[in-house]
C-alpha cells in the first residue's frame, strides 16, 4: 500500500466501489499519519474515476443517487474499512508488534469508523457505497489438502514450494467465499458493529446479517424518498430470508420506540415466548451483547419504516411467494409481530396512506384479503391488540418512552 492518497484510491477505494474484475489489495494498516498525508493531497479526491465509480455504485440502489461531494469523513470511513479488512489478514501473527500496538491499530480504526457517522441522508447514501462493497466482497481461498491436514490460504496464493516435494501427495483447490459471511478475527468482529453503525442504510438492507445498532434517524428520513424506499423494499424482497429481515427491522424499531421486546411496554407475549424458546432467531441475536452507542432516535420518524415493512408484505403477495416463507416459521415475537403489520393497515392509514391495493385489480385484492386472514392465524389475539392499542398510537402520536 502506498502512502499516497492516489495509491490508496487505486488499490482500495476504486476496486471496492468499481466491482468488476477488481481486487482490493491489503498490505498494512493505515494510521493518523496516513490520514494527514491524505489530507495534504485532498485534491485527488475529486478524481473523475473516483466520482464515476461512486455514481455507478450508487446507481445500484437508485437511478439518481443522492450523493454529496467526497469529504474527509468519507475518506476516513474508507480508511476505517481498509483497516477493518486488514484485521482478517492471515499473516498478522508474523508481524513483530506488541499487543498494545495492535490495540492502538484497533482503536485508530474504531475512531475512523466512529468519525464517519452520517449526519444527513446524503451521507447515509455515501457510506452505503463503500459498505455495500464490503458486503459484496469475495475472497478466493487456496486450499491445499494432504493426507494429514488441510491448509487454507486466505486470499493468497499457495506457496510454490508445496510442489517441490514429490513425495508429498496433495490436492489443491479454490474456494470462493463471501467475506462478510466467513468467520472473522476478534478485532474485525468488533469493528464490524461500528462499520454498520456508520452505514445505516446498509445495515437496514442487510438487517439479517448486519451487526451493531445503526441509527435509524437518517435512514427513516431517507426512506421518505420514494426511490430509496422502493430500493430498500425490493432489496428485502429479493432475499430468501425476507421475513427474518422484516422481523429484525421491526425489533430494532420497537426498541427505538421504547417498546422493545421484554420491556415494560413491550408486546405481551414476549416474556412467555422467550421462556418457551430461549433461542432467539439467529438474525436478531446480534442486537444483544454489543457495545451500545447512543442512538440518535430523538428525531426519528418511524412511519416510513413501517410503511416499507407493510409494502414488503404487499410485494410478496404480488409475487405469490408468501407461503414459501411459512415453511419454517419462527416463534420469535418480532417475527409474529412483523406478520401482524398488514392487519394494522386501516389503523395506520392516516399516517401511512393507502397502498392502493384496489388499483391492482380484484384478483390482487382477493389475494391480499386471503393473506390477511392467513396472517391472522400467526399472531395471537393479545399481540394484535397490543399492536393496535400500543404500537399504532406510538407511531401516530410519536409516543416514545
Amino acid at each position: 500500500m502506498g502512502a499516497s492518497l492516489n495509491g490508496f484510491l487505486d488499490d482500495f477505494v476504486l476496486p471496492l466501489l468499481g466491482g468488476s474484475r477488481s481486487t482490493v489489495r491489503l498490505k498494512s494498516p493505515l494510521s493518523y499519519a496516513d490520514l494527514a498525508n491524505f489530507q495534504d493531497d485532498a485534491g485527488s479526491l475529486t478524481r473523475d474515476d473516483v466520482q464515476y465509480a461512486r455514481v455507478r455504485c450508487g446507481r445500484r440502489r437508485v437511478e439518481r443517487p443522492l450523493l454529496p461531494d467526497i469529504d474527509t469523513f468519507e475518506l476516513v470511513f474508507w480508511m476505517g474499512l481498509h483497516n477493518l479488512l486488514f484485521f482478517d489478514h492471515p499473516q498478522l501473527g508474523q508481524v513483530w508488534a506488541s499487543d498494545a500496538k495492535w490495540r492502538l491499530v484497533e482503536a485508530t480504526t474504531a475512531s475512523f469508523l466512529d468519525r464517519a457517522q452520517p449526519e444527513s441522508p446524503a451521507q447515509v447514501v455515501a457510506r452505503d457505497l463503500a459498505m455495500e462493497g464490503v458486503m459484496r466482497l469475495v475472497r478466493v481461498d487456496q486450499i491445499v489438502e494432504t493426507r494429514e491436514a488441510e491448509v487454507r490460504y486466505f486470499g493468497q496464493p499457495a506457496p510454490r514450494r508445496i510442489g517441490l516435494f514429490d513425495s508429498v501427495a496433495y490436492l489443491q483447490r479454490e474456494d470462493t467465499v463471501n467475506w462478510i459471511d466467513f468467520r472473522h478475527s476478534s478485532p474485525t468482529g468488533r469493528l464490524l458493529h461500528r462499520a454498520f453503525r456508520a452505514s445505516p442504510l446498509t445495515a437496514l438492507i442487510h438487517a439479517d446479517r448486519a451487526r451493531g445498532r445503526a441509527s435509524l434517524r437518517n435512514v427513516a428520513s431517507l426512506l421518505a424518498e420514494p426511490a430509496y424506499a422502493r430500493a430498500v423494499v425490493y432489496a428485502w424482497a429479493g432475499s430468501e430470508d425476507w421475513d427474518l429481515i422484516g422481523a429484525a427491522v421491526l425489533e430494532r424499531l420497537l426498541e427505538d420506540l421504547g417498546l422493545g421486546i421484554g420491556s415494560e411496554h413491550g408486546p405481551p407475549s414476549s416474556v412467555a415466548a422467550s421462556a418457551e424458546e430461549p433461542e432467539a432467531p439467529p438474525s436478531v441475536t446480534v442486537a444483544a451483547g454489543v457495545d451500545q452507542l447512543a442512538l440518535d432516535s430523538e428525531d426519528t420518524d418511524p412511519a416510513p419504516l413501517v410503511a416499507a415493512l407493510i409494502h414488503l408484505h404487499l410485494l410478496k403477495v404480488l409475487e405469490m411467494k408468501t407461503r414459501a416463507g411459512f415453511g419454517a416459521p419462527s416463534s420469535s415475537p418480532a417475527w409474529k409481530l412483523f406478520f401482524g403489520l398488514p392487519l394494522l393497515l386501516e389503523t395506520l392509514a392516516p399516517i401511512l396512506g393507502d397502498p392502493g391495493i384496489q388499483v391492482l385489480g380484484a384478483a390482487m385484492e382477493a389475494r391480499w384479503t386471503e393473506y390477511r386472514s392467513f396472517v391472522r392465524g400467526i399472531i395471537s389475539r393479545d399481540e394484535l391488540r397490543w399492536l393496535r392499542d400500543t404500537f399504532a398510537p406510538a407511531l401516530t402520536q410519536g409516543n416514545r418512552s
Partner: protein
C-alpha cells in the same frame, strides 16, 4: 368457227346476261355460289385435304353441299357447292381444284360459268341469254365453259362430316424408320396416347411405372361384350419407350392432332383434322386407327386417372437383405459444416461483447426501452458476454441492434448463431443444422468467431435475464465453459455478480514499526 358460249366481261360492266352475276369490289364478275365438279371421289378428298391444310374446313362446311350428279351423256361426278361472292375465295378454290384436275365455276341457281382467268381479268358472262343454254330442271346444274355446257342432274347428297369420318387412313412413313430418330418423336414429344389391349394392360402399366413414365389412363370398352382396353396418356415419353411400345402387338400409339382427335402413329388422315372440328360433332373423342382401319368414338371427354392407381402394387414387408441394404445406403463422401463469408444481410439476434467492454454494458442498459430490456438474455462465455435479443420479436428491433458494442451475431438456423457476415456452409436445411449439432428444443449453439470449428452449446438454464444480472458482469476466468459444453456453475454464477475480490498481500514483519496513534 363455233360461237363461244362465254364472252369476257368488260371493265365497268354491271349488267350481265346470266342472272346472279354481279361485280365485286375489284370489278370482277362473280356469282353467289361456287361450283366445283370432281370426276372421282379421290379428287374430292384430295381437294378437301389440300383445303384443310390452308384454311379451316369449318368455315367451308357452313355453306358447302356435296352432291352426286349424273352427266347428261352418262357418267357421274361429284359436285361441291359453296358460298361465293368474292373473287379471292373463287381463285383460292380454283387453285386448289386445279391441283386435283377439277374445274371451278361461279354463278347462282343452276347455271354456272367459268371464273376469271389471266386472259379475262373481269370474268365471263354468257354470250347469249340464259334461256339459250337449254332447259334446266330444278335438280339440274349446268356448267358453261367457253365451248361446251355440261348439264348434270343431282341424284344424291353426301354428308361431308360422314364422308370425313369414313375416310380410310393412309400410311405415313415414320421419319428415319424409328420414332426415336425423329426429333419431334412423330408429334409425341409432349404427349402420347396408347391404346393397350386388355390382356396387356396390367403388365404394361407396371413396366411403365417402373420406368417412371408419367401416365394416366382410362378403361374403354371398344366393343360390346369385350373386355375393356386401356387408353393411356403419357406425358413427355422418352423416345426409347415409344419405340418399344410401337413394336408391341396389341399396343397402338396415337398422335393427338386436335383436342378431340388422335391418329395412329405411322398413319395419316386425308383431312387435316385440326382444322376440321366441325367434322367431329359432339363432345366425343375420336381415335383414328390405321392398322385396324376403324374410328373409335369415346363417349364424352375421357377422364384420365393417375397412373399410380392403375398399377398393381405388391407390397413387401420383408426387410432388405444385406445386399439390398448396401445398395440402399451407399457410402458418399462427407463434408464438415463450416463458416463462410457472405454478403447476406440479416437482423442481428445477439451481440458478443469482449470482457474488456463488459463493464460498459451496465451503462447501456439505460438506453434500452423496457420492452426490449425485459426480453433480453445473456450468457457469460470465455470469449465474452453474449447478449441475446428476444427471439421471435415480431419485427421489433432487438437489443443486439441497439447495443453499440461487440460483434453482432445472426441466426444461421433457428437457435444457431454465427458472426454477422458469415453463414454456414454448405447450405443445409435450417432444421437439419440443429439435428447435426444435436441441439435439444430449448438449446442454442453459437460460433463465437469464424476461426472456431465447433459451436458452443448453450442450454436454457444458462441464459440469464439481462435486466436482472447484466449490471453485474463477471470476469472471464470465472465464467469458464468446460470443453465445448457450457457449464454455468454455481461458482461462475457467484462471480458474475460483479463482486470485488480481496487479495491479502504479503505483510512484512515490521509492518507496524512506524505506526503511531493520533497526535
Amino acid at each position: 368457227m363455233a360461237q363461244s358460249l362465254l364472252e369476257p366481261v368488260a371493265a365497268g360492266q354491271t349488267r350481265f346476261r346470266l342472272h346472279g352475276l354481279f361485280v365485286d369490289a375489284r370489278g370482277v364478275a362473280v356469282g353467289r355460289e361456287i361450283l366445283v365438279i370432281f370426276e372421282t371421289i379421290d379428287r374430292l378428298v384430295g381437294f378437301l385435304g389440300a383445303y384443310s391444310e390452308e384454311m379451316s374446313l369449318d368455315e367451308l362446311f357452313l355453306s358447302m353441299t356435296l352432291e352426286t350428279g349424273r352427266r347428261e351423256g352418262g357418267g357421274r361426278a361429284f359436285l361441291l357447292r359453296c358460298q361465293g361472292g368474292d373473287s379471292y375465295a373463287i381463285e383460292r378454290i380454283r387453285r386448289l381444284a386445279s391441283v386435283v384436275q377439277s374445274t371451278t365455276y361461279t354463278g347462282a341457281g343452276s347455271i354456272f360459268v367459268l371464273p376469271r382467268d389471266r386472259k379475262t381479268p373481269f370474268g365471263f358472262d354468257l354470250t347469249n341469254p340464259a334461256e339459250t343454254v337449254g332447259s334446266v330442271g330444278p335438280d339440274d346444274v349446268v356448267a358453261v365453259s367457253e365451248t361446251y355446257a355440261t348439264q348434270l342432274q343431282v341424284i344424291d347428297r353426301l354428308d361431308p362430316i360422314e364422308l370425313v369420318q369414313r375416310l380410310s387412313m393412309r400410311q405415313h412413313p415414320i421419319p428415319g424408320g424409328k420414332i426415336g430418330n425423329d426429333p419431334e418423336l412423330c408429334g409425341l414429344r409432349e404427349m402420347a396416347l396408347v391404346l393397350v389391349s386388355p390382356g396387356l394392360a396390367s403388365r404394361l402399366t407396371g413396366w411403365l411405372w417402373r420406368r417412371q413414365v408419367q401416365m394416366a389412363g382410362i378403361r374403354l370398352s371398344l366393343r360390346e361384350g369385350e373386355a375393356g382396353s386401356l387408353l393411356l396418356r403419357l406425358r413427355d415419353p422418352p423416345g426409347r419407350i415409344l419405340e418399344i411400345l410401337d413394336g408391341i402387338p396389341g399396343v397402338e400409339l396415337f398422335v393427338p392432332v386436335s383436342p378431340r382427335a388422335a391418329v395412329e402413329v405411322g398413319w395419316r388422315h386425308p383431312i387435316h383434322l385440326a382444322s376440321a372440328n366441325a367434322c367431329l360433332p359432339g363432345d366425343e373423342m375420336y381415335l383414328f386407327r390405321g392398322r385396324a382401319d376403324r374410328v373409335e368414338r369415346i363417349p364424352g371427354s375421357p377422364k384420365f386417372v393417375d397412373g399410380s392407381y392403375l398399377v398393381e402394387h405388391e407390397l413387401s414387408t420383408r426387410p432388405p437383405d444385406d445386399e439390398e441394404a448396401r445398395l440402399l445406403s451407399p457410402e458418399i463422401s462427407t463434408v464438415s459444416l463450416s463458416l463462410r463469408a457472405t454478403t447476406l444481410a440479416r437482423e442481428p439476434s445477439g451481440v458478443l461483447i469482449d470482457w474488456e467492454h463488459a463493464s460498459l454494458v451496465g451503462g447501456l442498459l439505460y438506453l434500452l426501452p423496457p420492452s426490449v430490456l425485459s426480453n433480453c438474455e445473456f450468457v457469460a462465455l470465455t470469449e465474452g458476454i453474449l447478449v441475446l435479443s428476444e427471439r421471435g420479436a415480431g419485427g421489433r428491433i432487438g437489443a443486439s441492434a441497439m447495443i453499440p458494442l461487440g460483434r453482432r451475431m445472426v441466426e444461421a438456423a433457428p437457435g444457431v448463431l454465427v458472426p454477422d457476415g458469415y453463414e454456414l456452409w454448405p447450405r443445409v436445411r435450417p432444421q437439419l443444422v440443429r439435428e447435426l449439432l444435436g441441439l435439444e428444443t430449448e438449446e442454442m449453439a453459437v460460433y463465437p468467431s469464424e476461426q472456431v470449428e465447433c459451436a458452443i452449446r448453450i442450454g436454457a438454464s444458462m441464459r440469464v435475464p439481462l435486466d436482472a444480472h447484466a449490471v453485474r458482469v463477471s470476469s472471464p476466468a470465472d465464467a469458464r465453459f468446460a470443453s465445448q459444453s457450457a457449464e454455468f456453475t454455481a461458482a461462475a454464477a457467484h462471480q458474475i455478480e460483479d463482486a470485488p475480490t480481496i487479495s491479502n498481500e504479503r505483510v512484512g514483519r515490521f509492518a507496524l514499526w512506524r505506526y503511531r496513534g493520533e497526535g
